[in-house]
């Protein structure tokens, strides 16, 4: 009786511990609070900002995007060096495992190159984001004024 009790406890403990394991493996990326800046006229460039959250245990990378609303979509980073504004084309923006990355004015942004028409506050803009591991994610992004 005593021994089978111990065995039972060990069995239950092992089962519980395996249930506490890492869970599904791989990145789990979600997009929060995506918004687009207005663009005054067709042909202009725009910027989309958002928070990329990765709840998974593996990092992922935002590598690009497409949108029917613009000629091209690329990830860029604004940098300020001694008062001089520069921009860099980012091939892959890493979202660390169990981490997040904020795309906001003055930093990273998803750049819309050559919009097909002016974007006014209140418009919605369809955009597909491409992640290296997580694949494609389709969003409807709100255009709003800069706060």
């Amino acid at each position: 009786m005593h021994r089978s009790f111990i065995i039972a406890i060990v069995f239950v403990a092992t089962l519980s511990l395996s249930a506490c394991g890492a869970g599904p493996s791989g990145p789990q990326v979600s997009v929060e609070d995506a918004w687009s800046r207005p663009v005054p006229a067709a042909g202009g460039n725009g910027a989309v900002f958002m928070r990329l959250v990765n709840g998974g245990n593996e990092a992922d990378q935002l590598v690009g995007g497409e949108s029917p609303a613009a000629g091209a979509v690329e990830v860029h980073k604004t940098t300020m060096e001694a008062g001089v504004m520069k921009m860099e084309h980012i091939a892959g923006l890493e979202i660390p495992a169990k981490g997040k990355v904020s795309l906001e004015p003055g930093g990273y942004h998803v750049m819309l190159i050559g919009v097909n028409q002016a974007l006014q506050p209140g418009d919605t803009l369809p955009i597909t984001l491409n992640f290296e591991k997580s694949g494609e994610m389709q969003l409807e992004v709100q255009v709003r004024e800069v706060k």
Binding site: G43, M80, G106, L112
Partner: protein, 207 residues
């Protein structure tokens, strides 16, 4: 010490203390009145007349800086293909102009292009007026624009981004400059300065 009618000595602190207090208070008042206004922007230590220039405004007129005396002029150098820093600065300019209310017609905000190749007067005009109808876009021949940049110490350089559909971007100084109503280059503001800080300085200069 004064002698009261009953003959006992009594200190009379109230009157002399009150006098001291009044004196201290008066000095403090003088000191606060003498304290000059603290500008939020970076001051030019020995303000000179702002370098004059003449460029073409997007409203079709020629714009000469010297003719703007009596107004506060805010100047920013940027380009319309810029997706981030320039729109942010113009959105802040809009907040400043809106915050001025009636005083807005004593202030000019000019956006001087660093990309005359792509920023034609039409493109520039549509762009700036989308933010606020009172913002003026200024352009000109490349050598005219280069001369103004040099006079104000502005860096601007085209850079081709490999593998990018942007063609080229322009790296440029992102400060805003303020010329006072007497035509002196008084202040500059770093990118990201709050509109409220700029408004405070402008209101002080408009008097």
């Amino acid at each position: 010490m004064v002698k009261t009618r009953s003959g006992a000595n009594q200190p009379k602190p109230t009157a002399s203390f009150g006098r001291w207090l009044a004196l201290v208070g008066f000095i403090a008042l003088l000191l606060t009145a003498c304290q000059s206004y603290q500008f939020n922007g970076t001051q030019y230590p020995d303000p000179q007349l702002a370098p004059d220039f003449e460029l073409t405004a997007t409203n079709g007129e020629r714009f000469q800086l010297r003719d703007q005396q009596g107004q506060v002029v805010l100047m920013f150098f940027g380009y319309t293909s810029c997706p981030d820093v320039c729109p942010t600065t113009l959105a802040e300019a809009k907040r400043v102009l809106e915050g001025l209310g009636e005083d807005a017609d004593r202030v000019k905000f000019v956006f001087i292009t660093v990309d005359p190749e792509r920023d034609t007067p039409e493109v520039l005009g549509t762009y700036v007026t989308a933010f606020h109808p009172a913002i003026l876009g200024l352009t000109g021949a490349p050598h005219e624009l280069a001369a103004v940049r040099q006079a104000y110490g502005i860096f601007a350089e085209n850079e081709v981004l490999e593998g990018s559909a942007t063609g080229y971007i322009v790296n440029h100084t992102a400060r805003t400059f303020l010329v006072d109503p007497e035509g002196h280059l008084r202040l500059s503001y770093a990118y990201g300065t709050s509109p409220e800080d700029v408004l405070e300085d402008i209101r002080h200069l408009l008097g």
